[in-house]
């Protein structure tokens, strides 16, 4: 049985440099990195010291607040360096890879015949747990609480994002194993949103509740789908998992190996030949960046899409959750009369001498310039046009800024993640950092209430 979710409000941002649907293998990376900052609010407690040998699947560190939540090595090799920042916070853990991988064997676990307990402890010990995110608070799932439902979005509407149907091609077996296993961990449903058109590998699977999603971005955001299918209420918990992470979970259950392969979309206007690469979590971005080639030196490399990704250096490493790497020009230059001249080559949601409304299908080459300075909230009504969730975005942001916990809760803070505010941030005339504001608000709530 499938249901339709139709999103009307939103904005699909069309950018140059879409990844061509051909899959190449990136050269094997020399070093791999785990960045604790990828795991929000997790303080790492190291298990392996500098110089220690690890196999793929060996625990590197666990969460200081819950030692059940383990983080494992994506590769076999030697842990060469633990980089620390201010206050000795661990910023990066570097592992030098062996030429050949050896895997820690967790043993095969049939999802059909195993108990929920067995599945859960396998996910925890194998380092697959961090793939499961929870709402409220948009953090790694609490190991104690059973989720009401589990949500998976297999639609990509973000600009230049990884086409899920393409990158999951041929992975039906792993996906089935993973969703069956997950369906045992909840009394509710495993909801999967798939594109209305297109051949999603989820379409033939059992143990899921399928939803056909259509409409502009953020239709593909899992938060949008949760809001339309069954919003999160107070005292409820739902889980969300990215589809590629399901493949890793599925493979672990079927083979007993933690094999964190990623099929990433290398895209963006500064990439010479944007296309898909098979690589691995934590790989050096240089392995595929220079295989494909960059057009310019002054670029921003983003691990993730342009709306929600993290800035990395071209010599940096792929983030833990990223399945897209986008390269766009840096915009660190002045523009003469940029505030009043007619603009044809940048996106705008207004028509104030901006003409992107004339060419809705044109693809743009946007840079990282903010196109204006940070200001107080002034304009109203423009966030609502791109915000499909049934709540008031500006009021929510203001509640977060003044730390009004009651108001945040009342307005629906339990339902959102920072990424839900990426489009309002994009269109913000006052150039306010919406995602950061929401993140801080969620963290405050987590500290005070959660």
């Amino acid at each position: 049985m499938s249901k339709d979710i139709k999103i009307k409000k939103g904005l699909t941002i069309k950018l140059k440099g879409e990844a061509e649907k051909t899959l190449s293998s990136a050269p094997r990376s020399r070093t791999f990195a785990l960045r604790p900052s990828d795991f929000h609010l997790i303080t790492p407690k190291m298990v392996v010291r500098e110089g220690g040998k690890v196999q793929a699947g060996d625990t590197i560190f666990y969460s200081k607040s819950n030692e059940l939540v383990k983080f494992v090595s994506p590769v076999s090799g030697t842990l060469t360096k633990i980089e620390r920042g201010a206050k000795r916070v661990i910023t990066e853990i570097i592992i030098e890879a062996d030429p050949q991988d050896t895997f820690k064997d967790f043993g095969i676990l049939s999802p059909d015949s195993s108990s929920a307990e067995a599945i859960k402890s396998r996910l925890l010990e194998s380092g697959c747990w961090p793939f499961i995110m929870q709402r409220p608070y948009a953090v790694i799932a609490d190991t104690e609480q059973e989720p009401r439902d589990i949500f998976i979005s297999a639609v990509s509407t973000a600009p230049l994002a990884n086409d899920v149907d393409f990158s999951l091609n041929g992975k039906e077996k792993e996906l089935q194993a993973a969703v069956t296993a997950l369906s045992k961990l909840t009394k509710g449903q495993v909801h999967v949103g798939v594109g209305k058109s297109g051949s999603s590998p989820f379409k033939g699977l059992k143990d899921i509740s399928l939803h056909n999603v259509s409409g502009p971005h953020p239709a593909g955001n899992v938060g949008t789908q949760i809001n339309k299918i069954s919003p999160v209420n107070k005292n409820e918990i739902v889980w969300t998992i990215a589809p590629q992470d399901l493949v890793i979970i599925g493979e672990l259950l079927l083979t007993g190996k933690f094999n964190p392969d990623r099929i990433i979309a290398l895209s963006g206007s500064e990439v010479k030949t944007p296309k898909y690469y098979r690589t691995r979590i934590g790989s050096e971005a240089a392995t595929f960046l220079y295989d494909s080639g960059l057009k310019d030196e002054n670029v921003r490399v983003i691990s993730g899409d342009v709306l929600t990704g993290k800035k990395i250096s071209p010599k940096g490493h792929l983030g833990y959750y990223s399945n897209t790497v986008t390269v766009i020009p840096e915009g660190d230059d002045y523009e003469l009369f940029g505030w009043n001249k007619p603009v044809f080559d940048k996106i705008s949601t207004s028509r104030a001498l901006t003409f992107s409304w004339l060419t809705p299908n044109k693809k743009y080459d946007l840079d990282t310039n903010t196109n204006g300075e940070h200001r107080a909230f002034v304009v109203t009504g423009n966030y609502e046009e791109v915000f499909p969730l049934d709540m008031f975005p500006m009021q929510m942001l203001k509640a977060c800024m003044v730390k009004d916990l009651d108001q945040m809760e009342a307005l629906g803070m339990y339902e959102v993640a920072p990424e839900d505010f990426s489009l309002t941030e994009f269109v913000c005339v006052s150039k306010q950092p919406h995602q950061q504001i929401i993140r801080n608000g969620l963290d405050l709530m987590y500290k005070e209430i959660g």
Partner: protein, 402 residues
Amino acid sequence: MGLKQNLHKLKEKYKGTKMAPAFNALHTFLYTPNETTHSGAHVRVVDDLKRTMNTVIMALVPCLIFGIFNAGYQHYAAIDNTLRLDPLGNFFTWDNFILGAWTVLPLVIVSYVVGLGVEFIFAIIKKHEVEEGYLVTGMLVPLIVPIDIPLWMLAVAVIFGVVIGKEVFGGTGMNILNPALTIRAFLFFAYPTWMSGDKVWVHGAQAMAGQPDAISGETILGTLAANSHPVYSLWDMFWGFIPGSVGETSTFLIIIGGLFLIFTKIGSWRIMLSAVIGAIAMGLIFNGVVAQGWIQEGSKFYGLMNEPFWHHLIIGGLAFGIVYMATDPVTASQTNKGKWIYGFFIGFMSIMIRVFNPAYPEGVMLAILLMNVFAPTIDHYVVKGNINKRMKRAKHLKAKTA
């Protein structure tokens, strides 16, 4: 290239000093800054607050230019009444323009220099960037005052309006009352003789009062409030060849400006439309009251109450207020549903004040200020609706599981 690099060097030099906000305010008028995104979305839309404000100013420029010609025209037409026989032919003349520019441009200059001066001082004291809010306010102010207002009064009012109306609340984006209307309200209550009557709307009327060749010019609202009949034709009112505040006489240009604001998505069509509906509703009620014979000729309310409802839209400052001031996003309702309610009551109250307060027949200023005060309350209840829905959902669930 040279200028860009030199300015960049200057900016780096001033960075962190007290002068930085002032320098940056000027610098960013020439160049959009080289600022890049750090967190969250890496790309942003091209619109910024400067562009938004600039769009409103562009919508106001036709009103300003018309106001300049009209200032001259009203002066000469008051002296020589025959000019009114052919308004179009006698309107766009050099004489009108020169006299108008001579009287209107000082208002614009004083408004901007004083207002931006206050903004700069506050930006330097409070160490934030100079916000763009005053760019629109500074343009609105000269358009909504009588032509002969003494410049020092205007300066005092601007200082009052910017400091008390805006800066004490925390600057642009935080104010409760529309700053331009705060300025006008200050003038209105502090110097009423300069803001109403039949001697202020035409240049020179006050100066020549008492002389044998004295001129006067009453606004249509004033005439109606006095239960007499205006001498101007409806077309004159529509095109704007009538006495009134500097820039708010031409309904035609205001409609053009309003459509431009709606098209560019800068002005809220919800507010404009619902305000027009509100004004029509109140006008119809009053027309009905007269038709019922409850108010007889001779009542002091008769003149304005008997005015056909749609005339109200083209006389006085109603159209100007609805298009340019009710839509100020900071002081209006911020929710879409709230905007409908807010706009409706502005139109409704404007006409009500107009009719029932013939001493100050321009109701739109007070109506907007009043609704500015109520806008947060309206929003509160609109948002409350959403909150209640969410609570109901949670309660329903609790009932189900219990």
